[in-house]
């Protein structure tokens, strides 16, 4: 199969899955037993707000049901839901008082940014340690690394994040190991939020950073976008470098917390994969040729050992997006995870549907990219 055929085939296969996810999110949202019409009006449901043409009273509750389209059949509701999805009208969030699409649009880049940097930390660490571990197979270092590989996977992300906050974000007075250099709370790294509160200002109950004209990726925006409203921030703070550094530092702890389990599993996979490759004939040949051991391992073995590692990337991305739910809750990032938690605890089901849909599309697309990359690196994959 040619590469372009493979790509088109994978894209085609994606369609039924996305349709399935849409049906799935819709049905889950409709399985949720709470009555959103009743939730919206609370204790004012009985109040008569209008009369029909026949003079029948309409209560607030009935009006809500009408507005939310709950009086129609499920199939009609589903059809409406799908057409609206395509029109870009994903409904109105009750908790955020904003269109769902806007909420998701603001939240998604934060999660993506965090997941990206988490994997940027996890991959080099995991792969390097995996290589070292495989090279020193059955030595003390290897045993220690194997232990850490499993231990990293076993850490509860939320607990590890809090431990990081405790030890790297506080000074010695509070039990941490950091002396106050920068950041707040006297620690090395900021504990909380996407930005220092000095740089943010709330709007409509949602903490905003760059309300207009940004890409949504805060790290990018902090450097490139200048907004009129930012001039409200005191001058001595309003330099790009300070803003950028602040944005970057706030990412440090969440990314470590999120990346550690990926690093652990990568370590183990890389070790196994490299050990397998090291027993191959071509590695023996390379050694027999008299190549330096470092060259044998780095050039001949690692290159091939890394190929299957690409597939792990898909799992890592899923793990990172799922784990974001926890880290975002702890570090108060307004990303997808936090939006998901908020919407589910307050049963805001337009947002639940939107968030589930968007996370799964992000996940599917990143997996698609991983698959295509794999097919480019290893043409055998295309044959299946």
């Amino acid at each position: 199969m040619k590469l372009h055929e493979f790509v088109v085939r994978r894209l085609l296969l994606l369609i039924p899955v996305i349709v399935g996810v849409v049906i799935f999110t819709f049905s889950v949202a409709h399985l949720i037993p709470a009555d959103p019409a009743a939730t919206q009006c609370g204790d004012k449901c009985g109040i008569i707000i209008d009369y029909t043409d026949d003079g029948e009273p309409i209560t607030a509750y009935q009006a809500n049901r009408e507005r939310l389209g709950m009086n129609e059949g499920v199939d009609v509701q589903f059809k409406k839901y799908v057409t609206r999805l395509f029109e870009g009208d994903w409904g109105e969030s009750e908790t955020y008082n904003r269109p769902v699409l806007d909420v998701v649009k603001d939240a998604a880049p934060i999660t993506l940014e965090m997941s990206f940097f988490a994997l940027m930390i996890a991959y080099p660490v995991g792969i390097t340690l995996g290589i070292l571990s495989a090279v020193r197979q059955d030595k003390m270092f290897d045993h220690v690394m194997r232990f850490f590989g499993i231990a990293f996977v076993s850490l509860p992300i939320f607990w590890f994040a809090m431990m990081l906050q405790l030890y790297f974000a506080t000074g010695s007075a509070m039990g941490g190991v950091c002396d106050p250099i920068f950041g707040t709370d006297g620690g090395c790294f900021p504990v909380y939020g996407r930005h220092d509160t000095g740089f943010t200002y709330p709007e409509d109950g949602f903490v905003w950073f760059f309300p207009e004209g940004g890409t949504g990726f805060h790290l990018v925006d902090s450097w490139f976008v200048s907004d009129a409203k930012l001039s409200t921030i005191p001058d001595e703070w309003n330099t790009r470098w300070l803003l950028f550094k602040d944005t970057l530092l706030h990412l440090a702890l969440p990314c470590i917390a999120l990346g550690v389990s990926s690093a652990g599993s990568l370590l183990r996979y890389m070790r196994a994969s490299l050990l397998e490759v090291l027993h191959e004939d071509y590695v023996r040949t390379a050694r027999a040729k008299g190549l330096a051991e470092s060259r044998v391992i780095l050039v001949h073995a690692c290159r091939n050992a890394l190929v299957p590692i690409v597939t792990i990337l898909g799992f890592s991305i899923g793990g990172a997006i799922g784990g974001a739910v926890l880290t975002e809750t702890i570090f108060a990032f307004n990303g997808m995870g936090r939006v998901a938690v908020t919407s589910i605890t307050s049963i805001d089901y337009t947002v639940i549907m939107g968030v589930t849909l968007v996370t799964s599309i992000i996940f599917l697309l990143s997996n698609l990219i991983v698959d295509i990359t794999y097919a480019i690196i290893d043409p055998r994959v295309r044959l299946e």
């Binding site: 199969m1 055929e5 088109v8 085939r9 085609l12």
Partner: protein, 346 residues
């Protein structure tokens, strides 16, 4: 040996579809078995030889009814095997696989392996089964104590004996031996072959013996069929085919048999090129195509079905591989065309 026909294979074809393209449509086929006609008489041993990938194993599977037939027919004592109840086929036809280790469930004891056919066909169980298995183990030259052991505790030759015992358990009339000795040492091969022959004699069995080893086939077979790329190119008595091979491919194969005398002159014929893929095989004579024979094109439009050249000796006529024969055929068929083609200057 009687003259009763046990198996009649007529124009048997087995094509495997290849799924490809965006929507997994079937555009091409692997023609593993592509028009084979054969007869097997009761009590004989028919050897099928050919290089790997020529479709001999598939042929065996198809005539056992293990995989469905694409077209053509297989008749077992005059009855189409697709119409015979599965249970009866299984009782009459058995198979011994190439890889004795792989054909046994590593988690089952020898008693369960050998007794499984009896158990699943409801013939015996319990203590009766144990006795029957003991007898079967005796008949293939294994000890009764081996019954409680597991396959991995046996050597290759012993495993093949177990496989044979399993095949014999239902008292079949016919056994397909799919390269039963190729995974064994030469010394063990001989033992197994002798065992096969003695069992065949004592139980009046019919064998189809598939192998790529011509020496082994010659030792055991009454008749030999040579297969190339899903087709039979030559079929004759074992001695006849080794003494007087007519098809070029058969000649090549026979010349490749190692001679026991190291001082003998090596006269093996070397063939250039690779075995063509059974996916979209070349039209006409496949071996001629491989040899890039100048007269290959003539074979494209020819009827390549087997011809009897001498009693019991059937050969595929073709201008490149069996020159003398094919000329005769062409003349018989259409003298004008043959004249025309031979006179046309290039």
């Amino acid at each position: 040996m009687s003259d009763e026909l046990l198996l009649e294979i007529t124009n048997l074809k087995k094509w495997f579809p290849i799924k490809e393209g965006l929507l997994s449509q079937t555009r091409r086929y692997v023609r593993a078995v592509d028009g084979v006609s054969l007869n097997v008489t009761r009590g004989e041993t028919l050897g099928i030889v050919g290089e790997s990938g020529c479709g001999k194993t598939t042929l065996g599977r198809v005539l056992m009814g293990l995989i469905p037939i694409t077209s053509g027919s297989v008749r077992y004592s005059g009855e189409d095997i697709r119409k015979i109840p599965n249970k009866e086929i299984r009782r009459k036809m058995q198979i011994v696989f190439q890889d004795p280790g792989g054909s046994m469930n590593p988690r089952m004891s020898v008693r369960s392996i050998v007794g499984e056919p009896l158990l699943v066909n409801g013939i015996s169980d319990g203590v009766d089964l144990t006795h029957k298995v003991e007898e079967l183990l005796d008949s293939v030259g294994l000890k009764r104590e081996h019954m409680t052991r597991f396959p991995h505790e046996f050597s290759g030759g012993q495993k093949q004996r177990i496989a044979l015992a399993r095949a014999l358990s239902l008292n079949p009339e016919f056994i397909l031996l799919d390269e039963p000795t190729s995974a064994l040492d030469v010394s063990v091969q001989a033992q197994v072959l002798n065992l096969l022959q003695s069992i065949q004699r004592s139980m009046n069995l019919t064998f189809v013996f598939i192998s790529h080893d011509l020496a082994v086939v010659r030792h055991i077979s009454d008749r030999v069929a040579v297969m190339y790329l899903g087709k039979i190119v030559e079929l004759a008595d074992a001695d006849e085919i080794y003494r007087n091979p007519r098809h070029a491919y058969t000649k090549v194969l026979i010349s490749a048999i190692p001679k026991p005398d190291p001082s003998a002159k090596r006269d093996s014929i070397l063939v250039e090129g690779d075995v063509p893929s059974p996916i979209d095989p070349p039209p006409g004579c496949a071996f001629g195509h491989r040899l890039q024979h100048p007269e290959w094109e003539k074979s494209v439009d020819m009827d390549l079905s087997l011809r009897e050249v001498s009693p019991g000796h059937w050969v595929q006529p073709c201008p490149c591989c069996t020159k003398d024969l094919s000329d005769q055929v062409i003349e018989e068929l259409d003298p004008i065309q043959s004249k025309g083609s031979s006179e046309t200057p290039e």
